[in-house]
Amino acid sequence: MQKIIDILKKFDIASIDKYKSTWVRCKLCSSEDLVQVAKALQTNGLRSLVTVSPTDFLDDNKIEMNYFFEDYITKRNCWLKCDIPREMQRCEIDSLTPYFKGANWSEREAFSMHGVRFRGHPDLRPIIVTQDFYNKAPFRMDFDWDKHEANQTQNIKLIVDELKNEQIQNDKLLGESDMMLNWGPAHPNSGPISLKVHCNGEDIISIDPDIGYVWRALEHLVTKKDFIEAIVVVERLCFMDNINAIIGYAQAAEEIAKVEITEFAKWLRVLLGEISRVTSHLMGIGGFFNTMGLHTVAMWCLDMREYFLDFFESYSGARIATAAVEPGGLRWGLQEDMLDELQKALDKFDDTKSSLEAIFIKNKTMYFRTDKVGCISADEVYDYALCGVVARASGVKIDVRLDEPYAAYDKITMDYITQKNGCAVDRLNMLYEELKQSIDIIKQAKKHIHEGIASGEFNPTKDHKVKFPKRLPKGEAISRVEWSRGEVLYHLVTQEKATNPYRLKIKAPSFNHTMMLNHLLAGQTISDIPLVFGSLYICQGDLDR
């Protein structure tokens, strides 16, 4: 940590301080220094630029850029800030993409949403937003959404026209050596994403993922809700694992409000979060085999998943949209007999586990198909700032639950799980190993909660929540959670006496993973697309937000 501070002090800085246990927060005086500082950080190990988050301060007439650098090996991180002018013509900053490959799409997103132009960016096209938002910077505070909505028909026409133009262009290329093939959004394996595949016969030349098909502008929607209502928006990041998504937001809000949650709430968050992870990973394993055309595994996994959803249903009343976590703890208390429902799910998993492993996970045919396909090396993980299952499959030891423990994870016995080669089959094995780890954590948490209730340490019907204030002071916080797909970073900004968030940036893991598709698939054949796509464990919900 001290080393990072020493490096930064050589430059012209306005402020510097330690933040949480693993972060150094630093504000630069001038945005001109950014590239030099970033290069200095990179040579000292902070190789991953996880996200770029602009915050628009309308009153101060400035845009504050936030850069989050992470070092995956020594777990020292740096949060760099600098101001740039707000006027559209002068709103410029040097691009970091030539040095950090992972910054590519993050900078394109900042360009589309806030109108920040990046000097020297190799491919500065709008991303996520539809044609009607081009060059309009919809996430700026002075953007008039109602006025934009007034001519909806016109906006839709723009999108349709663009689609038609594209089709005419593609028709011309038909049968040429550089043909354009659309994979999705109506492909059964794709979900709402479209990959523009340039191919020469069977061989892929390049892939340009076209995303934004489920863009709901969640980050903007949050600012229209108060701090409790916002959980409904945040959990819709992706329904497969919504609990961990809300935990991250809640932690950021609690940090600004300076609210400490109870021990019982921490344990319950671990329990619910891991169950949520299990339901997500089961879908992930099923989806992986679906992409190879084997639907039996998905059926087995869906069957197991139902038992875990039964627990959610008895606890919160909803199967997947639970809204169970809120700033200040949990929404509901726990009745001890609800845990019997969970025991049924755990028993079901233990029953099925050995067959699933013997028949499918260790299947030779599957292994021959998926080995040496879509391999990611550890260096690529650092450069592209990948995380979660994908990073760990390449042998990189990162896990927010261990690096920066939140909730009650510091009292859980667990260790990093990694695979060696980073190929598609390793990512599947990784999912399965993590599934078993999560089941183990659930058992630990369940045992602790049982003991706590028996000894009178926890009062399950009262201890779940502490009072959370309606108005929050001015502040800024980041919070990280290990989501089922990887690290999610929330950057929450509030103003004086705030009733609703001023700005929430969600760094979602699928964003960087989708960026990898071109790198992984160029030079391969078309039949590998579904397999690599499925193995990267992408969810369109958090890809577009």
Partner: protein, 157 residues
């Protein structure tokens, strides 16, 4: 003669295939409905990859601006008679994304649905119930709403 026609309608209703098209979160609950516990295949439903073979298209929750042309195209590629099922609050009025501009709030005005399933997301039982309603309509020879009206007819997609 009448009886044979009735039989055709019965047969059509008992083997409804749906175009595999997901546009929102509700498709997760569709997956659960396909799964072993709810198993919609016992009622004759089956997802199919090609819209040419499909009888139903399901609006699974939210329709964003970008996916609307894709939805309408998939619908237009289906063979007559075709029916539309809308599930989830988003398909009705935007649901939790009602305040968001990126989402189409009147999806069922653009493409009228023959049955609507409420919920966010609806439970798999409810989705099967909605499909049963469409089955009833087909058996009684009720034409689909989308064949009679809808803003999509004026849209040149």
């Amino acid at each position: 003669m009448l009886k044979i026609l009735d039989f055709f309608q019965y047969a059509k209703g008992e083997s409804l295939w749906m175009a595999h098209f997901c546009s929102g979160c509700c498709s997760l609950e569709m997956a659960a409905a396909m799964g072993p516990r709810y198993d919609w295949e016992r009622y004759g439903y089956l997802p199919t990859a090609s819209p040419r073979q499909a009888d139903i298209i399901v609006i699974t929750g939210l329709i964003s601006k970008k996916i609307l042309p894709a939805l309408l195209r998939t619908y237009s590629q289906m063979a007559e008679p075709k029916y539309v099922l809308a599930i989830g609050a988003c398909a009705y009025d935007g649901g939790p994304y009602n305040d968001s501009v990126a989402v189409i709030k009147n999806a069922t005005e653009i493409l009228p649905a023959d049955a609507f399933v409420a919920g966010c997301p609806p439970k798999p039982e409810a989705i099967i119930e909605g499909l049963e309603q469409i089955k009833d309509k087909i058996k009684h020879g009720v034409p689909s709403l989308a064949s009679q009206s809808g803003l999509y007819k004026e849209m040149d997609f």
